[in-house]
Symmetry: C3
Subunit: 261 residues, 3 copies
C-alpha cells in the first residue's frame, strides 16, 4: 500500500485537486491519497514549505508527498523528486522543499525529465495534473525514482531566518500563524534547555508581553496571552480562547524576544 | 477494514488533520479515514457535539469517531473512549459526546490512561495527534478497548434544552444553522404526530412567521420562508433559494414556537 | 475496486457529506470515495455542471460520479443515472449533467425508480443521502444500472452559450472564475488553430486588453494581464501573481473578444 499526500494552493472549491486524484487513481488504483491541504494562500511558497515541514514527518516511511504551489508552471523551472529522511517528495524546484531540506539534507535529488512517466499530453499551465500526479502514481506502483531523470545537484533554497541566541535573551520572529490564530515562532524548545521557564522568563512580541512558559493554553484564563511550547517544538503565543493574530494584529515576520531577568 | 472519522476545529488550511492521518496510517495502514469536518468553529464544543450526533449514526457499526475540539488540552480533563449504540468514540471529556449520550446512554466508558497506545513523545498541546490518533489506530487494528484504561463512570454533560409541549403549541429554539443557512430547531417530527401540518400550523421565529409544514423546500416560491421536517427529523425553517440565517439575522438560540389554531 | 466521487454544495463545515460517506461505506465498504468539492455555491447548478465537466474525464473508466446540487429535492424532479463516455453519473435531472452531455451524448439514461436500492426511510429533503448515496454504493458493488428504473429519454438541458467565430475575431464570454481568480472563457484552443498567437492577437475583456497568447502565466511580469490556453484547453485571462476577477471586477458572463489585426 502506498500513500500519496497532496499540498496545494488550489482551494477547496476548484476541480484541480480532483483532476490530480483522478490521474493518480487511473495509474495506481491502490494508492491511498491524503489531502494535507489545498488552502495554501495562492502562490505562497513559504507557507507551503512550512506546512510540509510540519506534516510530512508524521507519515509512514516511503510516503510520497506532492506539493503543487507553482507560480512558475510552464517556465524552465525544474520539477524535482527528493528523498529527505524516509519521506519522498515531488514538487517544483522553487523553494517549497527548502524548509525540509534545511533541517535534513536530501539523500537523493532527481530532475523530472523522462516524459514516459507523464501524461501523453502535457499542458503548459497544470503540471500538477500532467506531470507530478502521474509520476507520484508510478512511484506508488513501485517505479524506481532513478528512472525519472538525471540527478540534480542542489535544490533551490529560500532563506529561513533563525533565532539568534544572546546571553540573556533570544531574538526571533513569528514564522507562522496557525488556524487558531496562534503565533508560532522560530524559537525552539531546545534553545530553552536549562533556562528558567517560570515567571522569570518574559516573551515580548511587538508591544505585547507575557511572563512564564506554560504547558497548556488553558493554564491561564480566557483572554490571557500565554507562551507555550507548541506541538512542533516551537515557542508559540496564544490568546486563551481567542485568536491572537487577529485580536492583536500580529502577522508573520513580527519580532519576538524571549528574555530572562 | 476499519473506518476512522475525524471531527475537529483545525480548519482546512492547517497541517493538524494531516499529522493525525499520518499517525493513524503509520499504525494502521489499512484504516479508511473519513473527514466529517475540520470546520467546527474554534473551540465550539456544542457545535461539534451536534455535528457528531448528526453524522455518526450513518456509518457502519464499529466505526471509530475521533472528535478533537479540545480547549482544555494539557490540563487534567480526561480523554475518553465511549461506545454509544454500535459506534465508538474517542474524544476529550468536555461535553462533545454529551449530545449523543443524551439520546442513548453509552454502554462502555473508559478513561484513556495507558501510554502504551500513545505516541512515545506526547506534547502538551496536541493530544489529537499524540494520544487520540494512535489510540484510534490501535482500535482499528483490533485492540480491545478495555486495554486503554480504567472504566469511567460518567461523561461530562452539557445542557441540551428540549422543546416544551403545551396543549396548543410547542416552544423550542434554533439549535443549529446548517451550511445553507437553514434554521434547525429542537422540535422533532415525533412531537407533531397527530397534529395538523397544513395551514392551521403556524411557526414563529423571532418576528417571522410561516403557515403549514411542507415536504420540500421548493414547495414554495423563492424568497418564501418555509417550514419542513428536515433530514435529521427536526423542524427547520428555510428561505427558499436563499440563506435564512443571514437574510433574517437569526442565530442559534432564537426562540421558535409552533402553534395550532 | 470502485471509485465514487462527490460534488455538492454542502459546504465543508456541514455533516451532510459525511452522512453520504457513511451510507456508502455501510453498503460498499471497499469503495474509494473522492471529494471533487463540497464548495459549489449553494444551489448553483451551472457551476456544478462546469466543475463536473472539468473533473470527471480524469478518473478511471467506470468511476461513479455523484452530484448533489438539488434545490428541487422533494419535488417531482427525476433523479437519473447517466453513462457519458466511460464515466457514470448519479444526479438530479436539473441540468447539472447537461454540460457533459452537450459535449458527448449519454449512451444510457435511467430514471431512478426502484426503492429497493434506496435507504428504507427516505426523507423529503436529503435525497443525496437517502437515494443517491445508496444507489452509487450498490453500483460500486456491481449492480447492473438497468435495475435502477426505466429508461429516460432525455436529460434536462441548460443553455451553454458557445463562442461565435467571425473572419477576424471570435466573440465569447467568461464562463468560469477559477480558485486563482483566472477568467476562463468559452473560446477553445481548437478555435485558434492556424491563427497567429503572437502580439497580432488581441484579447479584450470588458475594458481590459492584452496582446499575444502565452504558454505560461509567468511569461510576463507580476501584475500583467496575460492570455493563455489553460489546462482544460480554453482561453483564459490571468493577472500574473494576482487575482484577476477580484482586482479587475470581472465575473462570469463578461464578454471576451479575441481579434486579429
Amino acid at each position: 500500500m502506498s500513500i500519496i499526500t497532496l499540498t496545494t494552493d488550489f482551494g477547496a472549491g476548484s476541480h484541480y485537486a480532483a483532476a490530480m486524484k483522478g490521474v493518480i487513481l487511473s495509474i495506481c488504483p491502490a494508492a491511498t491519497i491524503v489531502d494535507v491541504t489545498h488552502e495554501v494562500p495562492p502562490q505562497d511558497i513559504r507557507h507551503a514549505a512550512l506546512l510540509l515541514d510540519n506534516a510530512a514527518e508524521w507519515f509512514p516511511p516511503e510516503t510520497i508527498h506532492v506539493a503543487v504551489v507553482d507560480p512558475g508552471v510552464g517556465t524552465d523551472r525544474a520539477i524535482v523528486y527528493a528523498r529527505i529522511g524516509q519521506q519522498q517528495f515531488i514538487a517544483p524546484d522553487n523553494g517549497v522543499l527548502s524548509r525540509l531540506a534545511a533541517r535534513r539534507p536530501p539523500t537523493k535529488l532527481i530532475r523530472l525529465a523522462d516524459p514516459a512517466y507523464w501524461l501523453k499530453q502535457v499542458s503548459t499551465t497544470f503540471h500538477g495534473r500532467d506531470i507530478m500526479a502521474p509520476v507520484a502514481a508510478y512511484l506508488a506502483s513501485g517505479l524506481d525514482p532513478d528512472r525519472l531523470g538525471p540527478p540534480l545537484e542542489q535544490l533551490t533554497s529560500l532563506d529561513w531566518p533563525e533565532a539568534t541566541q544572546h546571553p540573556n535573551r533570544i531574538d526571533g520572529a513569528v514564522i507562522e500563524i496557525d488556524s487558531f490564530g496562534n503565533l508560532i515562532t522560530n524559537l525552539t524548545g531546545e534553545m530553552l534547555a536549562g533556562r528558567p521557564t517560570d515567571r522569570r522568563a518574559c516573551v515580548v512580541c511587538n508591544i505585547f508581553e507575557t511572563w512564564g512558559i506554560y504547558h497548556a493554553y488553558a493554564a491561564q484564563p480566557n483572554g490571557t496571552l500565554v507562551a507555550v511550547i507548541g506541538s512542533a517544538g516551537r515557542l508559540e503565543l496564544a490568546l486563551v480562547g481567542d485568536n491572537a493574530a487577529r485580536r492583536l494584529g500580529i502577522g508573520v515576520g513580527s519580532p519576538v524576544t524571549l528574555a530572562w531577568e
